[in-house]
Amino acid sequence: MLARRTYQFLIVYAAGLALLLGLKYLAGLSDYVIPGPLLVWQTFRDVYGRYAADTLNTLSVAVLGQIVSICLATAIGILGRQTTWFGNFVKVAAYNVQAYPIVALAPIIFILLGDGFITRLVIAAMICYFPLLLVVLGVMSEPVVEIEHFYRITGRMRWQLEVKIRAFENLHKLTTVVAGSATLAMAGTIVAEFIAANAGIGYSIRIALYQSDLGKILVALFHIGISLSVYQALLEWAGARVQRRWEAAGGDVAS
């Protein structure tokens, strides 16, 4: 899984590089516009250590932000699954608020909370929150009638069992959105760092942009791609393990 994701990324990255170099030589562009392979390699050697640390920094914020997001989305999704007034309110609020571009709110958050770790965490969590919430809400609001009927009619239904049934029946959907939101969390953290932070790979990219250094940006993209591949592979593996565990041994049935 990891090997596959890694070489998939490497193929895409190499293709992108080849395209850029092709453009460079076709149009006769200088190293300033598109750096040559030697310059890219030199830049890589100069900054790979620093950028690797920056990327880990960003990834750690992204992962934590995603965890916060998952917990929040799960809680709100479970609360909002009912057709009560509160449940409907949660659904409507979720659909409407997700229309706001979070990146536009990011500068305000920076002003209020400063440019430390907490701000980046909040922005990362906000960016991957709504897709997670929508999927959780969708899953939790949709009864699995063929399974739930017995428990309802025999008076055995509890909210924990209802959540468990719906989560289990939609496990694949949930693990997919969690894996997908990893990319969102990473992208969100990078954008937050880009706007106004003083750490992380997004911050380094911003500096590279000031310096019009495409070489550094390519190195940064490489680090981001590799770390995301590893992280997503990890999430897929974890998701598959959860599924296997629930299917293999008899789990603790709440019914």
Partner: protein, 230 residues
């Protein structure tokens, strides 16, 4: 034990025609009764009416005190997939019915698959497992909506005979398309007809298990009466 409907009218949302118009009948229990009728006539809707999931537009459903604990089982139900069938049955069987559960598992032929997940069972096995879990609950009335639809004929007969033997004091309403089966095994057959027919429901006596496997004249008469009533 008695269930009756008095002049029931019901239209479902989005339907062109009403399901019931002036539906009236009385079924006196206990016993193994049938609800019979062509596809789409409203058998499942009637079942939902009887367990209170649907309210009529007009008329009255009367369920006497002897039938208060009502259950409804249908053939498309599934068990949760996170534990084996046996473990699930353990969890949902009241303590006083554990022995009964084991007996039913043996009689219905699903003992060999108790260690498997529900999804891996055949359709017939699924039907049987689902039925068992209802039979081990405390109930007065059990409506079985095509609950044995995927079970082979011989096993179906065995199951019906077993149910009648083990639960003589309960009220069963067996929804089926099989006229031979309902004629042979059921005490009363409530034949449901289209909403334009008067009366919309007709009660025909069945053989209630008398007469064995052969098609006797009595059984032919019952079958004829059922088919004429449709």
């Amino acid at each position: 034990m008695q269930i009756s409907c008095d002049d029931i009218a019901l239209s479902l949302a989005g339907a062109e025609r009403p399901v019931f118009t002036a539906l009236s009948f009385t079924l006196k229990g206990p016993g193994f009764h049938a609800l019979f009728g062509p596809s789409g006539v409203g058998k499942t809707t009637l079942a939902r009416l009887l367990i209170g999931h649907v309210r009529p537009d007009a008329g009255r459903v009367s369920i006497d005190d002897g039938c208060l604990r009502r259950l409804y089982a249908y053939n498309l139900e599934r068990l949760p997939g996170w534990s084996s069938v046996g473990r699930h049955l353990e969890k949902i069987t009241p303590a006083q019915h554990r022995a009964r559960c084991a007996e039913l598992a043996a009689e219905f032929g699903i003992e060999p698959v108790l260690g498997q997940r529900f999804a891996r069972l055949s359709l017939g096995q699924k039907n049987r497992v689902n039925l068992i879990r209802y039979l081990v609950q405390d109930f007065d009335l059990l409506i079985m909506d095509e609950s044995l639809a995927n079970v082979d004929e011989r096993t179906r007969e065995q199951i019906i005979v077993k149910i009648k033997a083990l639960f003589p004091d309960r009220f069963f309403l067996y929804i089926s398309h099989n006229v031979i089966e309902v004629a042979r095994f059921c005490r009363q057959v409530l034949v449901l007809r289209g909403a334009h027919r008067r009366p919309q429901a007709v009660t025909v006596p069945g053989l209630d298990g008398r007469g064995g496997a052969t098609v006797s004249p009595e059984m032919e008469k019952a079958m004829l009466a059922i088919m004429n009533a449709v």
